[in-house]
Amino acid sequence: MLLFLSVIENEVIRTHLEDIYYLYKKELWYVAKGILHDEYEAEDVVQTALIKVSEYIDEDMDVKCNKTKGLMVIIVRNLSINIYNQRKRRATINIDGLEEVLADESNEAPETYVLRLDQSKWIADQLSQVKREYADIMTLKYVYEYSNKEISEMLSISEGNVRIRITRAKKALQKIIGGEISG
C-alpha cells in the first residue's frame, strides 16, 4: 500500500475524482496489468495515478469526456512503463545524441506539416508506433497544456527527461510527416 502525501479537501474535486475512479477503474487496471503483468504493481500504479491526477483536477473539469479518459490512460501507461523499465533496470530515456537532436530542431519545415492535416489520426498512430511515450508526452504538453515540471511530477520522471522526450517526439513526428517513417 502506498503512503500518500496529499488528501483531497475540496468537495467538488473529491466528487470528480470519485467519478473518474468509478468510470475508468477497469480501463486503468487493464492498461497497468497489461504492461506490468503483476496485480500488486498494477494496483500501486492506479493508486499513484489517482493521487497525481487529483492535484490537477479543477472544478470545471468534465470527467466523462474522452479527454479525461485519455489523460488517465496516459498517466497510468507511463507510470507502468517506468516501473517496468526500473524492474528491467533499463534507463527510461537514452540521452545519447542529444546535441544532434537539439541542433536539428531549427530545421523544421512548416509546409511539410500543413500538408497532412487530414491524416492526423494516422500520424498520431505512427508516432505511438515509434514510441508510445512520445505521443503521450506531446499530448500532455500541447493538448492538456501542462508545463514540463507538471509533466515530470505526473509521470515521475525528471524535467530533463521530459524535455528530451518532447524533442525526440518532435523529431520523430518530422520524420513521419516527411515520409521517412511509414506504416
Binding site: K26, E27, W29, Y30, E108, S120, D125, S128, Y142, V143
Partner: protein
C-alpha cells in the same frame, strides 16, 4: 514581417499542430480501449484497490471537516475574544469611574482572597479527651519568656484571651473549650504538625508571625505572636491549671 515575427508565427502554428496531433492521439487511445471493451468488462478490480480508494476519500472528507471546524472555532473565538475585551474594558472604566461599583468589586476580591484553616477539636474524634471542663478553671503557662508579663485578659463567652507584653512586643494566649471553631490564617503560610504533651498541635509560620495551636483533653489553645516557635512550644508544654 521580420525574422522574429516569422519565428513566433511558426512556433504558434507548430504548437497548434502538435495539439491537433495530440487530440488525434486521445481519440486513438479511446478507440483502442473501445476495441478491447469485451476484455475490459471481464476485469475484476481487487477489493484492496476499492478499499484503498474509499479510505483515501474518507480521509479527505475527515480532514475537510476538521479544517471547517477549526475555521469555525477561529471565527467564533475571535468574536468571543472581542466581546470579552469590550466587557473587560467597560468593567475597568465603570469600576474606576463609579464609586459604588468600585467598592463592591474590591470587596469581592478581598473576600475571595481570604483563606482560613478551620480547626475544630471534636470530642468524638480526639483520642485524649475525657471530659470538658467549665470556665471556672483556666490554664496558665508556668513558663513565660524573659521580660514578658501579663498585660490584659479578656473573656468572650467561653473563650479566654491572655495578652502578654514586654513593653514593645505582644503575644496572646487563648483558650477555649474543645469543640470551639478556630479560624487560623494559613494562606501562604508554613505549617507543621507537632506534638504537645502527647497531643497533636499545629505550628503556623507566616510573615514572621508564629501561631501555635494545640489542645489537651479539655481545652484548645493557641499562642500567637512574634516570638520563636521553640519559645511558644516551651510555653505550651508548661501549662498549668489554675
Amino acid at each position: 514581417m521580420d525574422k522574429q515575427d516569422n519565428s513566433t508565427n511558426t512556433e504558434q502554428m507548430m504548437e497548434a499542430y502538435y495539439k491537433y496531433i495530440g487530440e488525434a492521439h486521445i481519440e486513438n487511445i479511446v478507440s483502442e480501449l473501445d476495441g478491447q471493451s469485451a476484455n475490459i468488462d471481464k476485469v475484476k478490480i481487487p477489493k484492496s484497490l476499492d478499499d484503498w480508494f474509499k479510505g483515501y476519500v474518507e480521509k479527505g472528507k475527515k480532514e475537510e471537516r476538521q479544517k471547517k471546524l477549526m475555521r469555525r472555532i477561529k471565527k467564533v473565538s475571535s468574536r468571543v475574544a472581542i466581546v470579552l475585551i469590550c466587557l473587560i474594558i467597560s468593567m475597568i472604566v465603570i469600576t474606576f469611574t463609579v464609586e459604588a461599583v468600585r467598592v463592591k468589586v474590591f470587596n469581592f476580591w478581598s473576600i475571595t482572597k481570604e483563606k482560613y484553616t478551620e480547626i475544630r477539636v471534636d470530642e468524638a474524634s480526639s483520642d485524649h479527651i475525657v471530659s470538658n471542663s467549665g470556665w471556672e478553671n483556666y490554664y496558665y503557662p508556668s513558663y513565660i519568656p524573659n521580660g514578658y508579663s501579663l498585660e490584659s485578659n479578656e473573656e468572650f463567652g467561653t473563650n479566654r484571651i491572655l495578652k502578654f507584653s514586654d513593653g514593645k512586643e505582644q503575644f496572646s494566649f487563648m483558650q477555649a473549650k474543645n469543640g470551639t471553631d478556630f479560624q487560623l490564617d494559613t494562606e501562604e503560610a508554613i505549617t507543621e504538625e507537632i506534638m504537645i504533651d502527647g497531643y497533636k498541635g499545629l505550628l503556623i509560620l507566616k510573615d514572621g508571625r508564629v501561631l501555635l495551636f494545640w489542645n489537651n483533653a479539655e481545652s484548645s489553645f493557641y499562642l500567637n505572636g512574634y516570638l520563636e516557635s521553640e519559645t511558644f512550644i516551651e510555653m505550651a508544654e508548661s501549662l498549668e491549671k489554675k
